[in-house]
Every structure is written in structure tokens, then in C-alpha cells.
Amino acid sequence: MIMNTQKEFMKIGDKTFKSRLIVGTGKYKSFDETRQAIEISGAEMVTVAVRRIELDKNKDSILNHLDPKKYTFLPNTAGCYTLKEAVMTCELAREAGLGNIVKVEVIGDEKTLFPDNEATLEASKLLIKDGFHVLPYCTDDVVLCKKLEDIGCAAVMPLAAPIGSGLGIRNPYNIKLILEAVSIPVIIDAGVGTASDASRAMELGVSGILMNTAIAGAKDPLKMSLAMKMAVECGRMAYEAGRIPKKLYASASSPLDGLIEL
């Protein structure tokens, strides 16, 4: 019998994804490395930023290296500090043919890159009205996540630690509470540093993880990409398998009957 290692798929908007790993495309040494790392990660959804074209430089584009038939693009509003910038970035992304699933980020603080939750909520409202499937980057706040669900977000993307910090899952209890409070997918956005962080997040029962720096910034990004793919799959499998309850005292796994008696 072939074991069904994965019971469900990740559903975002009107799409289904076999891979629960969403990867970023920034910080790689070359487009070639980006392409390879993403291929190895098995991700089906990749996030891209939207920026001004550099005039007079017919620079190569990331999109020349990523097959749009293979990947769903998730344009993000990284670097936006106002609602207006975030909304316009999404509109431009859609017009550029990057689709209508967007990762909305409205940054509220330069040092921590924590989101401006109020502006994120407002931007999300406007974008949903305009036909976008919105995935908002937010803090690990249950009340906020419920509000984001109520206005029609396709998922919520709470951070596990500051963007690019690699500090790991610092808020497992809050993530658990969010998982109980909302019925839309919860995707960990930011904080993962290494493979065990990814597994740990998946074991909590989140639908997926978005990461960039943890792979792109590793000494060997291609090897880390494979490690992350496996860690996400293992974590998910363990979640579906159901871990044993934690107990304070020992519980032997060998039978007590038939012991030799001296």
C-alpha cells in the first residue's frame, strides 16, 4: 500500500497547491541561482516585488527565468509604507500580468519592519472590493486576523519573527490561537531561519510558510532549499499524523509482562 503522505492541499483563492512552501525571489546571487533554488524547493507559488524599471538599462528580468506555466506569481507590496502605495502597487502588478492574488504589506516601522495593521486592513478592504485575493502580512494578533477574515481575505500571513531575522517561531501559542480563531488558511510569513523552524511551524497546523532570506541567505542556498522542502513536508506529515501528548513522567514502550525475574 502506498501511504497517502498528504491528506489535503493548500487552497488560496481559487487555486490549489500541492506544495505548502511559498518562496521569495530576492537576495539571490543571480537569476540562475534564483531559478534553481525555486525549482528545488518544489514551491508552486513565488512572490515577486514590483519596482520601477531602470530606464536606459535593458536589464534582464526575473520573469525571463521563471516559467509562468509552472508558478503562480504572488506580487507583494514589500517596501510600501502607505495604504495608497500598497493599493497602487497591486493594481500595477495585476496590469503587468502578475495575476490577482496579492501579498499585501504595509510597513509601519523601518527598524522592525512590523506591519501597520490598520493600514493593512484598510488596503485589504479596498483591494478585495476591486477583485483581488488578498494575503495580508500581519502581526500574530487573533483579533486582527479575525477582522482580516471577516473582510474577505483569502488567507492571513502572521509573522513568526521579524522579516529576515531568522529567529524562528517565537510565537507558537499565538499562532495556535489564530489557527483556532479563523477558518481561512494561516501562512507563516517571515521569521524562519532553518529547517527545524519550518517543521515546527507546520507541526502547529499552519497551511503553509512563506520564506526568502532563510534560503537565499544560506551558505548553500540550493541545499537549504531542499532542506526547507523536506522540512515543510515532514512538519505537515507529523501534524496530520498527530503527535503524542506531552507527559511529565516516563512511559515505557516495552511490555512489562515476561520480564526475567532474578
Binding site: T25, T47, V48, V50, L55, L98
Partner: protein, 76 residues
């Protein structure tokens, strides 16, 4: 005969840079004149996103602000 430069050049702000445009009359001309070759790009004129289907019929005027963007590598 003195040349009237204003009829030849159009001063625009493109992606935050001051630019003199030679012959473009609309956004479609402008893309050609700037030789934009990105596979996916989008434009905004005076902070309004313009759909691709309207580039040819969207005229540009002196002092217009044009944004031309595309996808770049990025994460969070």
C-alpha cells in the same frame, strides 16, 4: 526661423527622473521611444494606473508624471 523646442521636446517625469521626450504623443509611443523590453510591465500616468489596452489612446502632456514598473526579485 527659430526652433520652438517646446513643440519638439516634451518634458516628463518618468520613474522620478526628468526626461525630454522627442516624439511620443501617447503612452504607446513612449514605450517604443524608451525601448522598454521587460516581459511584463505596467504604467501609471499621474498616479492613475493605465490599462495596456489604453496606451495608444492615452495622450501625454508636458509635466506629466509617468511610472513604468515591472516584477523584480523580492520576498517579504
Amino acid at each position: 526661423m527659430s526652433l520652438n523646442f517646446r513643440e519638439i521636446f516634451l518634458k516628463l517625469t518618468i520613474n522620478g527622473e526628468d526626461r525630454k521626450i522627442l516624439k511620443s504623443k501617447n503612452l504607446e509611443d513612449l514605450i517604443r521611444e524608451l525601448d522598454i523590453q521587460a516581459p511584463n510591465f505596467a504604467m501609471a500616468l499621474n498616479q492613475q494606473v493605465v490599462p495596456k489596452s489604453k496606451y495608444a489612446t492615452t495622450p501625454i502632456q508636458e509635466n506629466d508624471e509617468v511610472e513604468i514598473v515591472h516584477a523584480v526579485g523580492g520576498g517579504i
